[in-house]
């Protein structure tokens, strides 16, 4: 595949980087990334991956755009309120970069559909807002050996890690099981500063781009935490993979996907946070 003149111009700032170059840009154009959740994290991740020329981007979300989303979910506009988030996000991505093929999945991820959803993608970005989904995505990615960027945000804090199954620890190595319903506050209850999604979601896009191009070192084996009030990033080294982990150790005790229950308040509102 040769670049068109338009592509050479569009991606010129990538191509000039020795870590990317023509080769890396071709890898991006041939890559497939799935973003689960078109919200605070998924919005900036999707914007940057589309702009970067990731050739195929899947976006999964069952919700419609709500006015209360717009403080942070920057892929949607005021005119999109009421539309399916996946449609609004897809339209924005296509407008940014016609090179990108966008696949939309207007559904929640469950044990029944997730393996099918992730199977055609090279890298998965978890931009969901609840523990049942985060554990499900982790377990499915470990089982299917799909690299994953996991992240979470709340108030003025955020954190992320990159999980490459077989190479480093997974989410369940850190947290064995989801907290009980309503034990840990959600963004809806506790609030979140809008720009936090921008910081952490952009870092997730960065990890996807590094994974695809092979540039630099991934955040495998580390949890990067960000405290905006202290303006402090910390890169916390995690123990090695799988030591007693129920899903990613060599003798896993969890071999089937689990649909954990959502907190009652979130179920009523259809997972809207």
């Amino acid at each position: 595949m040769a670049f068109t003149n338009e592509q050479l111009e569009r991606y010129s700032r990538h191509i000039i980087l020795k870590e990317v170059g023509v080769k890396g840009q071709k890898k991006l154009l041939n890559a497939k990334v799935l973003i689960i959740g078109a919200g605070g994290l998924g919005s900036p991740a999707a914007l940057y991956l589309a702009a970067a020329g990731v050739g195929t981007i899947g976006i999964a979300d069952a919700d419609a755009v709500d006015l209360s989303n717009l403080q942070r979910q920057v892929i949607h506009t005021t005119n999109d309120v009421g539309r399916k988030k996946v449609d609004s996000a897809a339209e924005t991505m296509r407008a940014i970069n016609p090179d990108v093929t966008v696949n939309t999945y207007h559904e929640y991820v469950t044990s029944a559909n997730i393996l099918d959803l992730i199977k055609d993608y090279d890298f998965v970005i978890d931009g969901t807002d609840n523990f049942p989904a985060k554990f499900l995505i982790n377990d499915a990615c470990v089982m299917a050996k799909k690299p994953l960027s996991h992240a979470g945000i709340i108030r003025f804090k955020g954190q992320l890690t990159t999980i490459v199954p077989g190479e480093g620890p997974c989410y369940r190595c850190i947290f064995e099981t989801p907290p009980p319903k309503d034990a840990v506050p959600t963004c809806k209850e506790a609030g979140v500063i809008g720009a936090m999604g921008g910081v952490i979601g952009s870092l997730q896009a960065m990890e996807a781009i590094k994974y695809i191009t092979g540039a630099g070192d991934l955040l495998v084996g580390y949890l990067l935490t960000y405290d905006a009030l202290k303006m402090e990033f910390r890169k916390i080294k995690l123990p090695p993979r799988g030591k007693g982990c129920a899903v990613c150790s060599d003798e896993p005790t969890i071999t089937e996907l689990i649909d954990y229950e959502l907190p009652a308040c979130e179920l009523k509102q259809g997972n809207e946070e």
């Binding site: 998924g42 931009g127 523990f131 979470g152 955020g158 907290p179 840990v184 999604g197």
Partner: protein, 68 residues
């Protein structure tokens, strides 16, 4: 004795347990925090009995569920 907590050096009393450190550090939702000591996770049911040693490097890892 001196230990490191979340990257900060601290002077603490000898014989301090992880459970006592959690109280001292005002850890949020202490029931659901993951603790690593010298880059090894310790089991949550050992917080009361785990006695910290001079030079230990302690990290608290928190659930963060938001994202959309």
């Amino acid at each position: 004795m001196k230990i490191t907590v979340a990257g900060e050096k601290k002077d603490v009393k000898d014989g301090l347990t992880v459970a006592e450190l959690i109280v001292q550090e005002e850890v949020e939702t202490p029931e659901y925090v993951t603790v690593s000591i010298n880059e090894e996770f310790i089991k949550n049911d050992t917080f009361d009995t785990y006695v910290l040693q001079d030079g230990d490097d302690v990290e608290f890892l928190y659930f963060m569920g938001g994202g959309r």
